[in-house]
């Protein structure tokens, strides 16, 4: 498992691996929104939590089709399926590698972009915490979507259509944490629900992912 994690991280940071692309996309979205909406303080501060979460969602979506498609094309997925390691663990490891290369950088940089979007200072820490708790669910759900579409050429659009509706609960509660945190209200309820979504996805979806891969390899 460690070998697979290290390989996926290494592939991500080598040439053409796509590490940093999601972060750069997130950065550009956060820079473009004030230009489009206008720098008027109040409007921007109101929409900032939603924009930041939407940006994180789309940034995550960008790299989903790389999770399994490349391994399927070059035959690695066949071999991982016949190797003496459980395919469920392969699915979970790939989701973890995806989160480490896309979700974690977003968590670290989001507070800086929050300032750019005029988010209330009280909300910055809540933004980082909400992303830290919520983005693992995006990677796990995304890996499941990638497994469903793995044999399909140019399956990226279909993958987006499958995955985005599944991201709705994370988006709703993630943005709620930031909005309430910025307004100085209690955030315990949306944060607990956000954590529950992540925990549920991480517990169940690797099994569904492995089953989908097995069917698609036939």
């Amino acid at each position: 498992m460690r070998a697979l994690l290290l390989r996926d991280l290494r592939l991500a940071v080598r040439a053409g691996g796509g590490f940093g692309l999601a972060l750069a996309f997130f950065l550009i979205v956060a820079v473009l929104v004030p230009l489009g909406v206008g720098p008027g303080g109040t409007t921007l501060a109101v929409i900032a939590p939603g924009i930041l979460w939407l940006g994180a969602l789309l940034a995550c979506l960008l790299s989903l089709d790389r999770i399994l498609a490349l391994d399927w094309e070059d035959g690695s997925l066949d071999l991982l399926a016949t190797a003496p390691i459980p395919l469920e663990a392969v699915a979970a490891t790939k989701a973890l590698a995806h989160w480490l290369t896309t979700g974690l950088p977003l968590v670290l940089f989001a507070p800086v972009l929050g300032v750019l979007l005029n988010l209330a200072p009280a909300g910055l820490a809540w933004l980082a915490l909400a992303l830290l708790v919520g983005t693992p669910a995006l990677s796990v759900i995304g890996t499941f979507g990638a497994a469903l579409t793995v044999g399909i050429r140019r399956g990226g659009l279909l993958l987006s259509l499958i995955v985005l509706p599944l991201y709705v609960p994370t988006l709703v509660f993630g943005a709620a944490v930031v909005t309430r945190g910025a307004a100085g209200l209690t955030t315990a309820t949306p944060l607990a629900l956000l954590a529950a979504i992540t925990a549920l996805a991480a517990a169940i979806l690797p099994f569904a992912t492995a089953a989908a891969i097995r069917v698609n390899l036939r």
């Binding site: 070998a3 094309e73 070059d74 035959g75 690695s76 066949d78 071999l79 003496p84």
Partner: protein, 207 residues
């Protein structure tokens, strides 16, 4: 080592082969022969456990199999040694990467990215994975494609060494597999009859 009883395999819902009965003892090999589309790859994928059999049973060695398909499962941005070290770790058999690279004549290219290797060198690197995998049964799909005569002979020697150590192999091949005394299985004899005549299914509807 490998025992197959009454096996039927299908590709895309169409049964290709039926009534397969064969075994491969330790130290033995079996060469699969058949025209394009006769089901060689499908049979190997079924033996490897990648797809379920339509009927029949496959008994595999407990230590598992090493499967080598048309694709070599190499990452172009990783070096030859890194590619091999990954598979050695996945199989967990403690295979020696440097030794395996030397066995396929790639020792001097160990630090070259796999994407910069020629087709034949990639194939040899893909076959070196069999050595580090340390599995007794090798399932090989056209192993000598894109190998030159020298490399094909070297691979035949490698395969013979594996068999001499008590391993076994099932090889799908059009050409010379380098195993003159191994038994051959002609898949044309096991072709499944077409399942129903498609035209007849709608006869009643039309009438």
């Amino acid at each position: 080592m490998l025992a197959v009883r009454g096996l039927a395999v299908a590709r895309g819902g169409v049964t290709l082969l039926a009534g397969l009965d064969f075994g491969v003892p330790a130290g033995g090999a079996l060469i699969l022969r058949g025209a394009n589309g006769s089901g060689k790859t499908t049979l190997l994928r079924t033996l490897a456990g990648l797809q379920p059999p339509v009927a029949g049973r496959v008994a595999l060695p407990a230590e598992g199999v090493a499967y080598a398909a048309h694709a070599d499962a190499l990452k172009p941005v990783l070096t030859a040694a890194e590619n091999l070290a990954f598979w050695a770790a996945v199989y967990g058999a403690g295979g020696d990467v440097a030794l395996a690279l030397a066995a396929v004549g790639l020792r001097d290219l160990a630090r070259r990215p796999a994407g910069a290797l020629s087709a034949g060198q990639k194939r040899r690197l893909g076959l070196a994975r069999l050595i580090v995998a340390g599995r007794p049964l090798w399932l090989l799909d056209e192993p000598t494609v894109s190998l030159d005569a020298g490399a094909a002979a070297a691979f035949a020697a490698l395969l013979a060494g594996h068999l001499a150590r008590g391993g076994a192999a099932v090889v799908a091949s059009h050409g010379e597999a380098g195993l003159p005394e191994a038994p051959e299985l002609d898949l044309a004899r096991f072709r499944a009859p077409p399942a129903g005549d498609g035209a007849d299914d709608f006869a009643g509807v039309r009438a």
